[in-house]
């Protein structure tokens, strides 16, 4: 229920003659959220039945109110629009109803529907406001996370990589593209591994590069990787004495 306040005091009675101290008008007007709000106030204040409003009473009170308010205040257009609507409804109700128009809809119905819907929302607004609200009635933990050195981790999946590679090759217009097979990738993997192993040392002994426990397939792939590295001039293989130790070193160490 609305409690319009004038000078801090609840305005419990809206006098029938609607005398409102002129300096209070703005305050009163500000207390309403529009013509529907004002109408609801009048209806509730005067215990009118919202489902069977006396249009002449309501219209008279509404008009008196806005006439008084207009004297001091530039009234929002919505208030005047509502006045026009009330008068229209009132006059339609005054018209004698021809017998065949008995089924005509009560001209007040649309207004009642709007008033009920507005009042529902008005009460709902108050109900929402009464709920506990984060930042007002309760607070959320705000613990700083050690995050500044967490890099942004973009996602990638292997299919994306594959598509990216296919795109590159397609764009390059390669006529006879290199087919990358599993075996070749393992060769490339071992090429990288051997280079990594040589990063911080002058050379490695040839046999050191082979893991004899890894099985024959891996040893073959390692050997192929070594040959590929030689072919691409990324490592050199040296043997100082015939049948002596064979050494592998990164090309840049020379």
């Amino acid at each position: 229920m609305i409690t319009a306040k004038i000078h801090g005091e609840a305005m419990l009675e809206l006098p029938q003659d609607l005398y409102i101290p002129p300096d209070a008008l703005e305050v009163v007007l500000d207390a309403f959220e529009g013509p529907l709000d004002l109408l609801l106030y009048l209806i509730r204040k005067h215990n009118l039945d919202i489902l069977d409003i006396s249009m002449s009473d309501l219209t008279r009170q509404y008009m008196a109110y806005i006439e008084a308010a207009k004297a001091r205040h530039e009234l929002a257009a919505e208030y005047l629009l509502m006045a026009a609507l009330l008068i229209e409804i009132k006059s339609r109700m005054l018209l004698p109803k021809p017998a065949e128009m008995d089924g005509e809809v009560d001209p007040r119905m649309e207004l009642v529907r709007r008033l009920l819907e507005y009042e529902k929302m008005k009460l709902a607004a108050a109900a929402i406001d009464a709920l506990d609200q984060a930042g007002r009635d309760f607070f959320l933990p705000a613990i700083e996370q050690d995050r500044d050195d967490i890099p942004e981790r973009q996602e990638v999946d292997v299919d994306e990589l594959r598509r990216a590679w296919l795109d590159v090759v397609a764009r390059a217009g390669v006529q006879h593209p290199h087919k990358v097979k599993r075996e070749e990738l393992s060769v490339r993997e071992h090429m990288s591994r051997i280079l990594k192993g040589l990063r911080n040392r002058d050379f490695a002994e040839f046999f050191e590069l082979f893991d004899i426990h890894a099985g024959i397939a891996v040893m073959v792939v390692t050997f192929l990787a070594l040959l590929e590295l030689v072919r691409e001039s990324l490592v050199t293989i040296v043997q100082v004495d015939p049948f002596g130790a064979i050494y592998v070193r990164a090309a840049n160490e020379s």
Binding site: E117, K120, M121
Partner: protein
Amino acid sequence: MSPDKVVEAVLLASEEPLSVKTLGRLFEERMSGAAIENILSDLQEKWKDSGLQLSESAGGWRFRTSAEMKPYFDRLHAKKAPRYSRAALETLAIIAYRQPVTRGDIEEIRGVAVSAQILKAFEEREWIEVVGHREVPGRPSLYATTVRFLDDLNLKSLSDLPPLEDIGSVAS
């Protein structure tokens, strides 16, 4: 660190509610929903009589301060959080209960113009968002409430909003 301590710390340090699924993914060996739910109910019990409460809202699980803590925070914060105007609250209520709605729909219900500022303020708070456009001339935006709105009011879903009162019967 034990899983319950991890979940506790992550929930306390997370800016947003976390779902059971997200919590399960915290662990290298992904944890089942049932295991996470066990941890959550243990934590709920552990924190029951303290200043924070583990609660579930629309976006998932998170800690929040309990109602008894309010006076302490009021003393801590020099300025109280501002309350929304009636115009703003009515606009929010219409969006919450009648969504999705256009600005025109809101104006129709309230009987007055709705200021763009009100909508902008709720959008900035991430309480409402544009979810589409109505296919009429001008293609006005359709507004709806967000998960954040539910989280901030500690609601699990829109159906947890206070029920609309049947005023017609009250009046007669």
